[in-house]
């Protein structure tokens, strides 16, 4: 089963991730999964994907279960605010003892330890390390890559990726055993053979607008075709599945055998010395090698275009992952696009390596390239498009990044402006000529409801065409339900996914394997930083103690409000103000991130800065961003989740995070990415700064340590700052008095329910559209026109409404005189009461009198 739950998914709250609608229902998904049992892979998963549609009625989508868990954790360790141990790690606490395994004779020059399960430890300082590193990147997943010792893990997808770039099982095993200090265990060897045996035998090709499963050997195709799921996706519903496999003429299939003879002397004997070994490794990881094409007859099976994903997934589950390659040079059906990189464009070495992996055998492989933010993903994408030279569809996350892509395309390549067009809400033009580039957003393409006439026409046009190349920006968002439609709707030859962080807290990352393809390349962050391609960043976690008032409410309040309470902690606001002041005075441009829109607005208004969130209109957004880039007066902006990805602000050099989405490692890395491309990164001694403000002793501490996981594995170190020196002497500190803090607490407690969501709920509730309703104004400094905020309704006790909430009256030192007079009064009262003890009787009498009088009157 390909969707084997990662260890992380054993933590329910650990699953939530901030990328899609689905993350609001991680509990539901796990429930589905449990219901389906371990075996029900496809069906259970499918039902989980459809779940969002059916349960769309629930408006409040906060992850309650996660909160509850976190709360329980916090309750168990109130003073620590942090859970003792990761659950996943408790299982692993037993020691794996491999000390009985002997070492290879010349182990001191070999850089690897490899265990039974495919975990690999690499000495990064060994002489052979750099070569070994290249090799490992090809065959294994990097687990952690700090400075001296790296860890990798061989997994099935990673092996498939290795196969897809042209490595062979035998070579993998051979090189591994040459590099390992301990003899390779037969168990691992068997596993590698097992995992790779069926890979690459099946190809998925698009030919004249029709999809085929293709294989040179009917033996491999037969089990697939006879599988009920795949058979149902076939175009011709014939009784005998075997008949659908059509033999093809050798002529039709025989693409020129381009491959030169494979490198010779590839298998030297065991006993050979170092020099030869280097050659072997070099040869195996060699990327310029070409594959041999066999001239044998191919067998094909046509499948329906819209069932492609099902077929891919099914084939992968059956251990026959389908290879998707595009022989673009010999594609004569589709018109060529005249596009070339401008001569002045320089491609960095790692970008070249990653592209070489994609075009290793002269054809385009579908896959994913992982580069840190700011490392030039865009250029990689553009270069790929220039290599394929066919009609290209680019999908990215927002209209802002559409504009940026278009501008980058024009900047780096010689494509003419009429050949490139954007498809967004505001722009709907078509390119002229037979081939061109279309740039759009995921929500735009995946939209299912009614469309405007011109949009509909455009979609028709996009769907009907055959695309040479589909470029997916920020591909980690693709697994989301609404985004996967983007992939299924189009007829595409080659797909390239670009992302910085291939981690998600749910296990959806595995889906990318069959949605797009294997991971082709993953760069080492630390190396790039060392070489000056991305900025070096000082990371710090600032611990802000909760003020006693806030902490008391925090302990008392129900889960959802807690988020707001620790986000709005006055000490945090002060710390934020202090850091902004400090960095602005240094000449830094500061971005402040907050997931919580309420906190975002409150901070921004209090500190007098501009802000952008889902409710900010497009024009205003662009205006603020450009002011931020060019206006020396505007040095700080507040961004909500909308700014996590794809907003390209090379001016920013300092980043402050005040509230975040639970334990999302990806978000942390994406946000860090906002400052990695800092323009000034090549200045001597330049550092970018990344601060994460955390309220002490709250659940934030726990999530914060979770979030940092990815970056720490990349070699970043988070420094803990417990005290900011000089903050108490800073002039104009916000919330200086207890009274102002208490009134802030008041405001926070009275804020509406929606305020507590860490999400940009405007975006969520309106399905990506901008908020139409009244929105609060930007602070004075920015240009927006002020609007009256809508009336808000809330419940509160009477004394709160009357303003008496903080007052109490207790008389302690009572004077004896008063005491006496009070006693007097009390005794008098008693007397009165004693008299009135007969009161009811009197009244009764009077009433009866009265009644009698009336009767009399009536009688008269």
């Amino acid at each position: 089963m390909s969707r084997s739950p990662s260890p992380a998914s054993s933590l329910d709250f650990y699953q939530s991730d901030a990328s899609s609608e689905e993350e609001y229902r991680p509990r539901r998904r796990t429930a589905d999964k449990r219901g389906g049992g371990s075996g029900g892979s496809a069906t259970a998963a499918a039902s989980a994907w459809t779940a969002p549609k059916t349960s769309g009625t629930t408006k409040i989508r906060i992850n309650l279960g996660a909160l509850r868990n976190a709360q329980a954790a916090a309750a168990a360790h109130p003073a620590e605010g942090e859970i003792d141990e990761d659950v996943e790690e408790i299982e692993g606490s037993r020691i794996v003892d491999l000390s009985d395994q002997g070492l290879v004779k010349d182990h001191h020059i070999r850089p690897l330890w490899v265990d039974d399960d495919g975990n690999i430890i690499l000495e990064a300082f060994a002489t052979l390390a750099s070569r070994a590193q290249d090799f490992l990147i090809a065959i294994a997943e990097p687990v952690s890559r700090p400075s001296l010792i790296h860890e990798y893990r061989i997994t099935k997808p990673s092996l498939h990726a290795a196969m897809s770039v042209g490595l062979e099982t035998r070579d993998i095993i051979q090189v591994l055993s040459r590099l390992s200090k301990i003899p390779l265990s037969p168990k691992l060897e068997r596993r590698i053979i097992n995992w790779t045996s069926s890979y690459g035998k099946i190809r998925l090709v698009l030919h004249k607008n029709k999809y085929y499963l293709e294989s040179t050997d009917p033996e491999f195709l037969q089990p697939l075709v006879s599988d009920s799921v795949i058979a149902s996706c076939g175009v011709e519903k014939l009784g005998d599945a075997g008949q659908q496999i059509t033999g093809l003429d050798a002529l039709e299939e025989a693409t020129m055998a381009r491959g030169e003879a494979l490198f010779e002397g590839r298998q030297p004997g065991e006993g050979e010395q170092d020099g030869v070994r280097d050659d072997v490794i070099g040869a195996v990881i060699g990327i310029h090698r070409t594959d041999e094409l066999d001239d044998e007859k191919s067998f094909r099976f046509q499948v329906e275009a819209d069932k492609m994903e099902v077929v891919r997934r099914r084939a992968k589950e059956m251990d026959f992952p389908a290879l998707e390659e595009y022989d673009f040079r010999n594609d004569t059906t589709n018109a060529n696009l005249d596009i070339q990189l401008k001569p002045m464009t320089v491609i960095r070495p790692y970008q070249e390596t990653s592209l070489a992996k994609m075009f290793g055998n002269g054809r385009a492989r579908s896959g994913i390239i992982v580069l840190p933010c700011g490392a030039g993903k865009t250029l990689v994408g553009i270069t790929a498009a220039c290599t394929i030279k066919k009609s290209t569809l680019v999908l990215c996350t927002s209209a802002v990044s559409v504009a940026q892509w278009k501008q980058q395309f024009l900047h780096f390549s010689n494509v003419s402006e009429r050949q490139i067009c954007a498809f967004t809400q505001s722009e709907k033009e078509m390119f002229t000529g037979p081939a061109g580039i279309v740039i759009s957003t995921y929500p735009m393409i995946a939209h299912t409801g009614k469309r405007a006439h011109d949009a509909e026409k455009m979609m028709q046009f996009l769907r009907s065409r055959e695309w040479g190349f589909l470029l997916l920006d920020e591909v980690h968002v693709v697994p989301a339900n609404m985004f996967r439609k983007c992939l299924n709707g189009f007829k595409v030859h080659a797909k390239l996914g670009l992302t910085a962080t291939l981690v998600r807290e749910d296990d959806k990352i595995g889906d990318l394997g069959y949605l797009i393809g294997p991971k082709l390349y993953e760069a080492n962050w630390m190396d790039l930083a060392k070489n000056g391609h991305i900025a070096t960043v000082q990371c710090a976690e600032v611990w802000c103690p909760m003020t006693p008032e806030f902490y008391r409410e925090y302990l008392r309040t129900a889960s959802r409000k807690r988020i707001l309470l620790h986000a709005m902690n006055p000490n945090k606001i002060q710390a934020c103000q202090f850091l902004i002041n400090y960095h602005e005075s240094r000449g830094d441009k500061v971005i402040v991130f907050s997931d919580n829109v309420y906190a975002l607005e409150a901070y921004a208004k209090k500190l007098g800065k501009s802000f952008i969130h889902g409710g900010t209109a497009e024009g205003e957004r662009l205006r603020i961003l450009s002011r931020f880039q060019h206006d020396p007066q505007l040095n700080t902006i507040f961004l909500s989740k909308v700014g996590d990805t794809s907003i390209d602000l090379p001016e920013a050099t300092c980043l402050i995070q005040i509230s975040s989405h639970f334990g999302s490692r990806r978000q942390e890395a994406q946000r860090l990415g906002r400052i990695l491309r800092a323009k000034r990164r090549n200045d001597e001694g330049f550092n970018a700064f990344f601060y994460s403000l955390v309220s002490k002793d709250t659940q934030e501490m726990y999530y914060s340590s979770k979030r940092q996981g990815f970056l720490i594995d990349q070699g970043y170190a988070f420094k803990v700052i417990t005290e900011l020196h000089g903050i108490d002497t800073m002039p104009d500190l916000v919330f200086p008095t207890k009274a102002s803090q208490i009134s802030l607490l008041e405001e926070v407690l009275n804020a509406g329910d929606n305020a507590a969501e860490t999400q940009d709920h405007y975006m969520k509730l309106n399905h990506g559209r901008h908020q139409r309703g009244p929105r609060s104004a930007q602070p004075e400094q920015s240009t927006s026109a002020g609007m009256v905020p809508a009336a808000s309704r809330f419940t509160a006790p009477l004394e709160h409404l009357s303003g008496g909430q903080n007052l109490s009256y207790v008389e302690r030192n009572k004077s004896v005189n008063k005491e006496l007079s009070r006693e007097d009064r009390a005794s008098k009262k008693q007397k009165v009461n004693g008299v009135s003890g007969s009161g009811p009787g009197l009244i009764q009498k009077m009433r009866t009198k009265d009644a009698a009088a009336r009767k009399r009157a009536g009688g008269q």
Binding site: S93, P146, S147, A540, G715, A717, V720, R812
Partner: protein, 493 residues
């Protein structure tokens, strides 16, 4: 503009270097003149003590050794290029450690000159040591015997010494761990010493007087001991041994001179026990059980007169800075600590692994590598055992792999060091303090009392609103009297 200087959780000046002979120094600092007179009869002692002195001081001693005149302050100042008019302390600080070791007598005023006369016994001893004139045999008497054939070579001796010493440490570790490592139970006298020194204790024996030697478990002091440098460990054990001997009313000066003599011996040579240490047979037996010396097995009830000092003994006096010859620098530096809290230890040594296991969550063990993670749970459980963050840090730093030195300093990443301190801090966020509460009804009285208590610096908490005063219990009586007096006064008035 206010510059933020981000404070470190660690205290400044905490990372001073502790000399491995600290236990010895502490012991010697508390001895009297007569003890040293006795000690300096042995030439070996004189030489070793000289070696332990700081370089400049050593130089001064050698400078005045052959002179008949006492060391004059003027000369010293001239020698060290200190201005003549400089205060005396400056000059005295230079020879302070020599004075502490009673090599120089305290300063004397003679005819307006100030001088430090040298201790005659020491002078004679050191002169003899340097010229080879002495007759005390304190450098050991070589064994002259028939069987020089199967003498163990230095490697075997080192192995023997390592094994014996580590088996003791291993026994200590295993007593504190749930996981079992194969250990050999040390001899009873070793256990008694471990108990007497407080490194191990019998938990069932509250009085500590009648321990059951089979049930000893390691104490927090013992854990700290394990993390120490080898040299420090040795001296610590030896000093405990001395203390134990002293309790048995044996003369410690003699035993101490045995240690120094051993320290001057040559690895691989054999010596005669009766010739070298005619008075300290029992000490030799004990030292054998710690692995300081090697002796042939007892034949016919007569212990062999021949003995071989191991590297543990011969490296005892090799000075502060030089690491012992046996543990080559590389062997000792085997730890790689990464910023993701992973620890990679190039070791197969059971003892090292057991020690690491005290505060590291060990995941995988290969033949020559142990992979673990420094995590909160394990570090905190280590802290419960009494190991401090400083000890963990100094252990990690002193065992850091040569590759770690390639990155720019500091050696250990500050984040990790900070985190260890934060974990340490986490344990004592709440402080317990005894207090006495006074409740007042009159604001006036409250204010007066508070002022009074502040005068004694005994106010813990004062709550003016509800007129509550919490004071230190030590000044309780005084404050009570004060309050009574005030009350009386108020009433009287």
């Amino acid at each position: 503009m206010v510059q933020p200087s981000f404070s470190h959780p660690r205290k400044p000046n905490a990372e001073e270097v502790i000399s491995p002979t600290a236990p010895l120094d502490a012991f010697l600092d508390n001895q009297h003149q007569s003890f040293f007179e006795e000690l300096y009869k042995s030439e070996a002692v004189c030489l070793c003590i000289l070696r332990f002195l700081p370089p400049i001081c050593r130089h001064v001693v050698l400078h005045t050794l052959w002179s008949y005149n006492p060391l004059r302050t003027v000369d010293l100042k001239a020698l060290c290029q200190i201005d003549v008019s400089a205060p005396l302390n400056l000059a005295e600080d230079i020879v302070r450690s020599a004075i502490d070791r009673k090599i120089f007598h305290p300063i004397q005023h003679k005819k307006g000159k100030m001088e430090w006369p040298m201790n005659d016994t020491f002078k004679k001893g050191l002169r003899n040591a340097l010229t080879g004139l002495g007759k005390s045999n304190s450098f050991g008497v070589p064994y002259v015997g028939e069987d020089g054939i199967d003498a163990p070579d230095p490697e075997e001796l080192i192995q023997y010494g390592e094994d014996t010493w580590e088996s003791i440490l291993k026994y200590m570790v295993s007593s504190g761990l749930s996981s079992s490592i194969a250990t050999v139970k040390p001899k009873p006298q070793v256990l008694r010493l471990l108990h007497a020194s407080g490194l191990m204790a019998d938990n069932n024996d509250m009085s500590g007087r009648r321990p059951n030697l089979d049930r000893l478990t390691i104490t927090s002091k013992g854990f700290q001991f394990l993390l120490e440098d080898r040299q420090t460990q040795l001296w610590q054990i030896l000093m405990c041994y001395l203390a134990l001997k002293e309790a048995d009313s044996e003369r410690s000066a003699e035993t101490l001179s045995v240690f120094f003599s051993l320290g001057c011996m040559q690895l691989g040579d054999s010596y005669s026990a009766s010739g070298s240490f005619p008075l300290a047979h029992s000490a030799l037996d004990d030292l054998e059980s710690y692995g300081f010396i090697y002796r042939r097995p007892v034949v016919n009830g007569v212990p062999s007169d021949q003995f071989f000092p191991t590297h543990l003994a011969t490296s005892l006096c090799s000075g502060n800075t030089i690491t012992s010859a046996s543990q080559s620098a590389d062997e000792k530096r085997f730890l790689v600590l990464e910023t993701n809290y992973k620890i990679y230890a190039y070791t197969s040594n059971e003892l090292e692994i057991a020690i690491l296991n005290l505060f590291v969550d060990i995941r995988i063990r290969y033949r020559n590598l142990v992979v673990g993670k420094l995590d909160r749970k394990n570090v905190k459980s280590a802290m419960e055992k009494g190991i401090s963050a400083y000890q963990i840090i100094s252990y990690l730093a002193s065992h850091a792999h040569p590759q770690m030195y390639n990155s720019p300093p500091p050696l250990l990443h500050p984040t990790i060091v900070d985190q260890l301190h934060l974990w340490d801090k986490e344990r004592n966020r709440l402080k317990h303090e005894d207090a006495v509460m006074f409740e007042f009804h009159s604001k006036e009285l409250f204010d007066d009392t508070e002022a009074e208590a502040r005068r004694y610096d005994g106010v813990l908490v004062s709550v003016p609103n509800s007129k509550l005063l919490f004071i230190d219990p030590s000044i309780k009586d005084g404050i009570r009297d004060f309050v009574m007096g005030q009350q009386k006064q108020l009433r009287g008035a």
